[in-house]
Point group: C2
Chain length 113, copies 2
């Protein structure tokens, strides 16, 4: 699975997006994160593992507690991919505008001849 | 399924991302799009349907041909979501920087007393 596949797959779930929002505010333990979500801990852990697989979240044991932290690079990669597509798209639309204007100008000139 | 779930799910596959890149260059028929991908048409159609479910792509029949077109709003929504998280995150890091600097300043002052 490509990096971007894993990153976007991580973002395609409201629980996982909520965890990202929680961690944007600072590191938290799995227990703290799980409190906001009404699901069994094993189900919640699956979401944490998906986030770890995409490297959006890293976790490490600190004594008996597993601490989670956000990593900025995967979200930056995802944003850059979307941004690029939108740029190609808007560039094409601008060229289309210019083309339509040129056509309109030509018709006006032709009409005046 | 929430909108953002569908949008990010659409982006979580390299074939679907390639279709978005193709369509950023302008509308194309399903046949034209499929040519670049070495898979059976029914499999390819499944990807097109996922893209349509997220409203990233709209398609309509033009005679015997199904034409596909990109819609900007879903990609904008996805980008905004990521952008917001990154802003919360970098704001926190800045506050952390200020906090650490304040601590360092205080220690220096305390050391001088």
């Amino acid at each position: 699975m490509a990096n971007l596949d894993r990153i976007f797959h991580s973002l395609a779930d409201s629980t996982r997006r909520a965890v990202i929002t929680q961690l944007a505010d600072g590191p938290a333990s799995v227990g703290e994160l799980a409190q906001s979500h009404s699901m069994a801990l094993p189900s919640f852990m699956k979401h944490v593992r998906v986030l770890e697989a995409s490297k959006i979240v890293v976790s490490r044991k600190k004594g008996r507690v597993r601490m989670c932290e956000l990593r900025p690079r995967p979200l930056a990669l995802a944003q850059t991919w979307i941004e690029n597509e939108r740029q190609i798209w808007s560039k094409r639309l601008n060229q289309l505008d210019v083309f339509v204007e040129t056509l309109a100008e030509r018709e006006k000139t032709d009409g005046n001849e």
